[in-house]
Symmetry: C2
Subunit: 331 residues, 2 copies
């Protein structure tokens, strides 16, 4: 199989314009959140606020995507140093999607990234000379919401990120729980009689209620192409019965999934983030009502909107980097 | 509403005949496991083995059931002292079903026990002069399986007890997690389109797959009375198509429920205990196979039979009592 050359993007390295929740005082750190579409990078100062922020397209390089991503990260780190020479980062936090091994610092596998067994922590550390925290994107975003965002002050929380896929980050008794990197995969439990999911299962939550699934199901039902789940919601609110049906199915599937989460873990809150959560009350109100119908004697969790938006993963990566400083080692 | 007088039972206080897994060396303790049908009590010696074991019917006394149970516990403790005067218990472990508050030592509510806000820990401690550990029956049984039984040596485990009801005890990163006493209620999450559950829900796992539900559903389907789930299994194995259908529905519901547990928590093992687990491979083999069909990329948990049998709750209560000695206080 021939591998296309890495796409190089002209990074927009800029000071952030929107105010962001900060990390608090501590060591300056670099943070990178690698996604299927783009890589976000940031330099956090001693005051815990972002000094430089960049967003570049994720290089598409087949089975060399891991190496190309590492090169982009190192490149961005260099540019941050040029723009902000007085800020000397002391650690780097890097989060990626898919199945990872935090012990070895390796990305084991990610269907949508084309990589397998990439030793991110070792390579990035060797190339930047910094201790590297290596983590999972959804769990990092969840950790940021837990520490700094919507779930601050709670002990038992599930943060669900609904975007192209659906996954959750778990916090029990005040601690993150990741089940050797395999917990929180609520997107792949059966909540409906169909359709078939990319994982091979049938009726998975992700196949009904992810932002991608909502757009796909509407198109399949009507033959109409839509830009995304947002457009399906807009059409639903305008009275389109097909859009209403697809949206209702998604809300029902999420509510049923959440009812299992509640029965098993009895969390104080379920925080909903990711692209679909941008629908706000149009998602959370019917979801809360439908969940309420599924529950009987159980403790009702608060259903909260994520607060950190698209930078939650970056903040989580930065928290991980900061913790390396506290722990005094690399992990 | 007139309240019937407490039934008093003649307790068979006896030395145990069957060998049991012991607690290991430590302080002698008393343990009581209160259920809807009977109260089990035991005196554990310094070697961690049971010196006296008793089983009496649970008194039925309407809204005075809590007081009647406390009287029976104190009575049994006195009889143990008569039979084994040389063993001086230093703490008492007491576990009960339903919703409890471990902080205040109170049984908040239990539908099948007729009590509400009974201050078990305070009363039993005052009447026996011993520090009292107060806990939940299923979580105690789970704790015993985790420490001494089927799940020894594992970190991430769910112990599911299937009897009259269905509930689970969770262990994550090597620690019990109880969600303020509300976690593990997998019996009350929807896994089927029906029937109505005692909790008010529809298609709850407990309404399809508990031992009681299996017998009830078979009777409803055929008009035949059966002694219990065991008889339904026997008839199923003899080729009765109605019994086969009821048993298959139960296995399928359990497998679907377990698939949600796996997606969310990714446990290393699910331990199956309670009366229904006595079916052994006739339950666990088809359950494991059906669960396997629901899973795709997830880690397959080991499906293990509980090892401590009907005394798991007693052992868990005794562990709790022993821990009071280590902690040096009462809780």
């Amino acid at each position: 199989m021939s591998t296309p050359p890495p796409r190089r993007a002209s990074a927009a390295v800029a000071s952030p314009t929107a105010p962001l929740i900060g990390l608090g005082a501590g060591a300056p750190v670099l943070a990178f959140d690698v996604g299927g579409t783009d890589i976000k990078g940031a330099l956090f100062g001693e005051d815990g606020h972002i000094r430089c922020l960049a967003r570049i397209p994720t290089p598409v390089a087949g089975d060399r995507t891991g190496q190309a991503v590492i090169a982009e990260i190192v490149n961005l780190a260099g540019r941050f140093a040029e723009v902000q020479p007085s800020v000397n980062p002391r650690a780097l936090g890097l989060v990626v999607p898919g199945h990872i091994d935090t012990r070895s610092g390796t990305a084991v596998f990610a269907e949508n990234m084309g990589w397998k067994d990439v030793a991110f922590r070792e390579r990035v550390s060797a190339l930047t000379g910094l201790p590297v925290h290596f983590g999972h994107d959804v769990r990092a975003a969840g950790g940021a919401e837990f520490r700094l965002g919507a779930a601050t002050g709670l002990r038992d929380v599930v943060v669900v990120v609904i975007g192209t896929g659906i996954a959750g980050a778990l916090f029990v008794d005040g601690r993150p729980y990741d089940g050797d990197g395999l917990a929180g995969e609520i997107g792949h439990a059966k909540v409906a009689s169909g359709p078939t999911c990319a994982c091979g299962g049938t009726g998975c939550l992700e196949a009904v209620a992810s932002a991608a699934a909502i757009a796909r199901r509407y198109s399949a039902l009507t033959g109409a192409q839509v830009a995304g789940a947002k457009e399906v919601l807009d059409r639903s609110q305008a009275g389109d019965p097909d859009a209403k049906l697809v949206w209702k199915d998604a809300v029902d599937a999420l509510a049923l999934s959440f009812s299992h989460v509640v029965a098993l873990l009895a969390p104080e809150a379920i925080v909903v983030g990711g692209g679909l959560a941008e629908a706000g009350p149009a998602l959370l109100s019917p979801l809360t009502a439908r969940l309420d119908e599924y529950l009987t004697f159980q403790r009702r969790p608060r259903i909260l909107a994520a607060r950190l938006g698209e930078n939650a993963g970056l903040l989580g990566a930065a928290i991980g980097a900061r913790e390396l400083m506290v722990a005094g080692g690399t992990r």
